[in-house]
Subunit: 460 residues, 2 copies
C-alpha cells in the first residue's frame, strides 16, 4: 500500500513540498492530498496590492497553478475550501471540514506537512470587525478589497500600519485617486529600516499624496450601522470610508500547537535543517515555520514567499527520499514605494545591538549609473558593520530605478560573512549604463572600512 502525504495549506510552501515529493515518488508509492480553507492554490500573495490597484488586471495572473493543473500534471489532490480543524497525532489523522458542504471527516496520513502560513495581526480593538475594515493576507482578501473599492468608490481611506503591505496599499490607493492616510505607531514608516532610511520613504510617500500620521497608536474604530467611519488614534479620529489593516502577520500555528507540535521562541513551528518537526512524521515549511537567521544566529519567524518556496522545496526533496537542507536566511526584503525602490538585508542598527554586536554605520549617496549617463538616479546606501572586524552585518538601500536589486550583492556578502575590507575589491560589473566605476555598494564598503580603521586607531 502506498504512503499518504497530507498537506495543510495549498500555497507556496505546501505545494512546493508536494511537487518536489511527487517528482521523486510516483502516485503508486505516495498519495498526496492538500487541504486549504481558502479558495485559491499557489498564488502570489505579494501580487495582491497590484491586483487591488489594477496594475495587474486579471486575478488568474496571480495564480501559479490551480487544482486542475495539480491533478493533471502532478497527480496531487488539492481540495480548496476544506479547513483542517484538528491534527490527531495518535491516530495520525486530521479532521477536515468541507466549507461548502459543511461536512467533517477524519483523513489519515503517514506523513504530514504543516504549511499553514501566517495570519494577519488583528488587534482586539473596539470596532475592529466592522464592515469596511480589510486585511490583505489571502487572495480572497484581495478580491474582497478590490470589489469593495469598485462597488463603493471610497473617497478616503486609512491604512493602519506602515510596513510593506501598508505602503504598497498606500501607493495603490493614491494611484486610484483616493485620499489616503496612513497611521504608524513608530517615528517613520517601514520599521524594518532604520529611522534615517525610513525618513526617505516617508518623504516619497508624502510627495505621492499620502498623509502620514506617525507616532500614533490606533485605539479603536468608530462605526455607524456596523460600517467603519473613522479610525481612532491616541491623537484623535481619522474619518475613513475604507480601512486596511497592515499590521504584519504572525505564524499560523494554532493547529500545530493544539496537537502538541513544539513551537519555538519565535512563535513559529520548530523545525530541523531538513524541515522536520520533532514529531516523527510531521514536517513544516513556510511562514508558519522557523528560519535560522545567519547573521544574528537566532531562530526567527519571517513571512515571505521566497522563503516559503525554498523551505517547501527542501521539505519535498526529503519527503521524496532525497536529501536537502535549508541553510537559513539573512533577512533580505525589497519593495517598491511609488517611484522609490527600497531594500534591506541583514540586521538594522537596533537588531545588531540586540544580537550583541558593537557596530559602525555609514550612509553614502551615489548614483545608479555613471554620473554622466542619462537617467543616472540617486541611491542611498547604508551599511551596518561590526566594530573592529569590519564584518558586514546589515545593509539598507533607498533609491530610484536600479537601486533595490543591488541589495542582493550585500545579501551574498552577509551569507559568506565577508568584511567590508574584502568587499571593497570585489569584481562587480561596471559599464556606464549600469554603474559608476565604483559601484555604490563598493563606495559604501570603502567608507565603512575607513570608519572601522578610524575607530581602531582611536582605541589604540
Amino acid at each position: 500500500m502506498s504512503e499518504r502525504l497530507v498537506v495543510i495549506g495549498a500555497d507556496a510552501a505546501g505545494m512546493s513540498a508536494a511537487s518536489q515529493a511527487r517528482r521523486r515518488r510516483g502516485p503508486d508509492d505516495l498519495e498526496i492530498v492538500a487541504f486549504d480553507a481558502g479558495g485559491y492554490s499557489s498564488y502570489s500573495a505579494c501580487g495582491i496590492p497590484y491586483y487591488v490597484s489594477g496594475v495587474v488586471a486579471d486575478l488568474d495572473a496571480l495564480i501559479a497553478r490551480d487544482p486542475a493543473t495539480f491533478a493533471r500534471d502532478f497527480t496531487i489532490d488539492v481540495r480548496l475550501r476544506h479547513e483542517v480543524l484538528a491534527i490527531d497525532l495518535d491516530k495520525t489523522a486530521v479532521l477536515v471540514r468541507d466549507l461548502e458542504g459543511s461536512s467533517e471527516r477524519w483523513e489519515r496520513f503517514d506523513q504530514l506537512m504543516v504549511a499553514t502560513g501566517a495570519i494577519p495581526v488583528r488587534p482586539p480593538l473596539p470596532g475592529v470587525d466592522a464592515d469596511g475594515i480589510h486585511g490583505v493576507q489571502t487572495l480572497d482578501d484581495g478580491v474582497a478589497l478590490r470589489s469593495a473599492i469598485e462597488a463603493d468608490r471610497p473617497s478616503r481611506a486609512v491604512i493602519v500600519g506602515g510596513g510593506y503591505i501598508g505602503l504598497e496599499m498606500a501607493e495603490a490607493f493614491c494611484a486610484l485617486g483616493i485620499d489616503t492616510h496612513l497611521v504608524e505607531a513608530g517615528p517613520q514608516p517601514m520599521s524594518t529600516l532604520d529611522p534615517d532610511m525610513g525618513a526617505l520613504v516617508a518623504h516619497t510617500l508624502r510627495e505621492f499624496g499620502t498623509t502620514l500620521h506617525l507616532d500614533q497608536r490606533v485605539t479603536g474604530f468608530d462605526t455607524v450601522d456596523g460600517h467603519v467611519v473613522a479610525v481612532v488614534t491616541d491623537a484623535g479620529a481619522l474619518p475613513a470610508e475604507l480601512v486596511v489593516l497592515g499590521l504584519g502577520a504572525r505564524p499560523n500555528v494554532a493547529l500545530a500547537q493544539t496537537a502538541g507540535i513544539p513551537i519555538g521562541p519565535s512563535g513559529a513551528i520548530n523545525v530541523d535543517r531538513r524541515q522536520r518537526t520533532v514529531i516523527e512524521p510531521v514536517w513544516s515549511a513556510g511562514d508558519c515555520a522557523e528560519k535560522i537567521h545567519r547573521v544574528s544566529g537566532q531562530r526567527v519567524a519571517i513571512a515571505l514567499g521566497t522563503h516559503a518556496n525554498k523551505q517547501g522545496r527542501v521539505a519535498g526533496i526529503n519527503l521524496g527520499g532525497d536529501y536537502a537542507t535549508f541553510p537559513g536566511v539573512v533577512g533580505t526584503a525589497a519593495t517598491k514605494v511609488c517611484a522609490l525602490e527600497v531594500a534591506r538585508t541583514g540586521l538594522g542598527e537596533d537588531e545588531a545591538a540586540a544580537a550583541g554586536f558593537a557596530t559602525e554605520t555609514v550612509v553614502v549617496e551615489s548614483t545608479t549609473r555613471a554620473g554622466y549617463y542619462p537617467d543616472a538616479a540617486p541611491i542611498t546606501t547604508k551599511l551596518i558593520v561590526e566594530r573592529h572586524s569590519g564584518r558586514l552585518l546589515g545593509a539598507q538601500i533607498v533609491g530610484r530605478e536600479g537601486a533595490a536589486k543591488r541589495i542582493d550583492v550585500l545579501a551574498l556578502a552577509l551569507w559568506n560573512e565577508m568584511t567590508v575590507a574584502e568587499l571593497v575589491n570585489v569584481d562587480l560589473s561596471y559599464a556606464p549604463p549600469y554603474a559608476p566605476t565604483w559601484d555604490p555598494v563598493l563606495i559604501a564598503a570603502r567608507k565603512a572600512w575607513q570608519r572601522v580603521e578610524a575607530t581602531r586607531a582611536g582605541s589604540r
Copy 2:
C-alpha cells in the same frame, strides 16, 4: 628632503594611486608628479562611445578630475602632453618629452608608478594607417572620431571587431543613422560570451540595423588619396567612409620592458599582492598590470577601468605607508547593446576547459520581474559549473532591462567559491517589481544542480 613619486599615466590607476598616497602623506613628505602623453587626465574611457553617439553631450562630463583640480585639492602636479620616453632604473629617473615644446629632460624619482594602460591592437595590415580609420582607446580618439562624424557626415561605416567597443560603436552609429557594418573573425560577436549566448546579441544587433559579417578576417584596407574607402576581408571588400578598429587592447608595457621590469606570461607587468613589481621602487597598476583570476588561478591581462581604480587604490595605500592587497578578479564585465543588457563573469565553456575543469552547463529563460507584473522582460541565464562538485565556474546573462546587474550575485558566488547547491537557497531579494519568487539566478542554479546530480547518478 621629501620623497618623490613619479606616476606614468594620469588616468584611473595612476591617479587613484596618487590620490591615495597623498591622503596618507602630505606634500612635505611626498612630492607627486604625473606625466601623460594624452591631453586629458582621469577620464572615463568607457564613456567614449556615448560621447561619440551624443548620448553624453559634453566632453567635460567624462573627465572626473582635471590637472587644476589635482593641483588645488591634492597638491599633485599633473603634466599632460608629456610623454615618458624611457625609464632608467640605475639613475632612478624617467626621460620626459614635452609634446608641446618638444623639449626633453630627465625627471628623478624615489618611487615610480607605472600606469601606462593599454594600447589598442592595430594589426600591420596594408592601409591600416589611412585617414578615416579610427581607434577608440583614448579620449583624444573619441574627440577625433566625433569631429570626423560631424565634419564628414559619413553614410556608411565599418567596424572591425565585435567586442565591447565594437558593439557599443555599432549601436552609436546606428543611432546616428549611419549604415553600419561589423566584421568579426569569430562565429558570433562578443567572443567573451559562449557562441550560443553571442547569437542572442547578434540577433539584436541585426534588429537594430547593423549588418554583421561573421567568420571573416580583415586582410587590409583600400584607400584613395590616403583615405580609406573599403575594408577588405577574406570574403570580399566592404565599402566604408569611416572605419573603427575595435580589436581589443593589450597591455602597454614597452617602456617597462625596455627598462628591465619583468613582464608576466599574460603580457602584463608582473606585480605582487601589493602592486609592487620585483624592482624595488617600481609599482604598477591598471590595464598594464597583471591580475590574478580567482577562478582559473592564472595571471591575466584584463583592461577595465574598475580594476584600474581598485589596483591603483591598493598601490596608493601602500605608497602612502599603509597596507592593502589586491585579491584578484573573477572576470566580470557588462555592456549594453541597443536595448539588450549583456553581462558575464568567471570562465566561459572554453576557458573552463582550458583551465582544466570538467563542466556542466545550463541555459535558462526567465523574466526580470514577476511574470504578471508590467514590463516583465526576458532574461537568459547561462551557468557553467564544475562536474560532480557543482562549483560555479562562470555565468553569462543576456536580457532586457534589469538583467545585467544580476551578474554581480554570480560574481560574488564565484568570489566565495560557492556551489550551485548552496546558491539555490541564497536569500536574494524578492518583490514582484524586481523578480519572480524564484529569481532567474536561482532558477539557473536549481537546473544546474539537477544536471550535476544527474551526471553523478549516471556515473555511479
